[in-house]
Symmetry: C2
Amino acid sequence: MKNLDTNTENKILESAKKVFIEKGYDGARMQEIADLAGINKALLHYYYRSKDKLFKNVFEQTLQSFFPIIAEIILSNKPLLERIKLFIDKYIDILIENPIIPLFIANEVAKNPLIIKDMLIPDIDNLFSGLNDMIDDEVSKGNIKKVDIKQLILNIISLCIFPFISQSIAKMIFNYSDEEYKELMLSRKNEIYSLILAWLKP
Amino acid sequence: MKNLDTNTENKILESAKKVFIEKGYDGARMQEIADLAGINKALLHYYYRSKDKLFKNVFEQTLQSFFPIIAEIILSNKPLLERIKLFIDKYIDILIENPIIPLFIANEVAKNPLIIKDMLIPDIDNLFSGLNDMIDDEVSKGNIKKVDIKQLILNIISLCIFPFISQSIAKMIFNYSDEEYKELMLSRKNEIYSLILAWLKP
DNA sequence: GTCTATAACTCGATAGAC
DNA sequence: GTCTATCGAGTTATAGAC
């Protein structure tokens, strides 16, 4: 059906994604995107009127390739601790495949917070209160101690993402190769889970 | 003695710091720095030959205003757990005062890892082996369980820094004002410590 | 749709007067 | 030391031929 997506338009988007994510909006050059796509600058403007519009496309698509996978796990009907375990495992895997995307997103949102305004999960308040109910439920069963949902989320996300954001520094400090750092990240799956688990123990 | 530091040269550096940290190297404009310093572009080049050299000055000074405070705590001769507690408290305080610096550093280092090459702590290997000995010591005393020093460092740093890197997103998701977010960060001091403590329990 | 050529503009850097 | 004026390279965006 959408076989035409393999054509110029999609090739541009893929190239733009690569360049924007690597260099950021300010550092990216339309010429470089054109070169990578094997076309010339004029065509970029033919398909996406401006650098700004091309960027917004890239940003939105990047974000949307991340959230659904996460949402699926969060919204599954597994027990809380199992969901947390699944989330950590899956998230680390995604980050190993896309190590520089978190920095890209953090950076662009910091420079222009409004860019994300319309892209967030619509009923996020429901999501939070749902998770809160789950926590209360587990607490009443004596499975975990009571914690603030916001701190729980911040803790898990921080432990998963930050080592990727800081990886260029961390690799230098630890004197690690790419492969060694990847191994360290893989071993974090269990470390992070045991950390959260220990904290949640009643 | 260096009363002249209050003069143009220092005013330039302060303005440059502000603009570079906020916009990043690529997004920063010499014109904006000049305007903020109340001078004109030509004078920037008179004091710091190029944008690049001005940036390197800013970056180095920013980094050096961060590391010594941290190093002081890490190298103090307090017991391990006390050092960790002090580190978290002090670090969160610094980050509340300078919330956007971590993103700035992560970003610029990611784009050019070599920039940090000469600025790292010289005998970092000694630092690690020293900390490792401390861990082993506490383990043998039965105070904590054995953990990997790299994971410990990553965990603590992640928990402290990431909420600031992601603060523009987090404030939106949590629907928090600046003040509310600051309160959340302050309350994290104890949360992070109890998290690490629970993990380290033998 | 795709290209070449170029307009229009931004920005870092310099020349030269004071 | 500080300023005004301007150069020249690089960048986004468009015009117009094919």
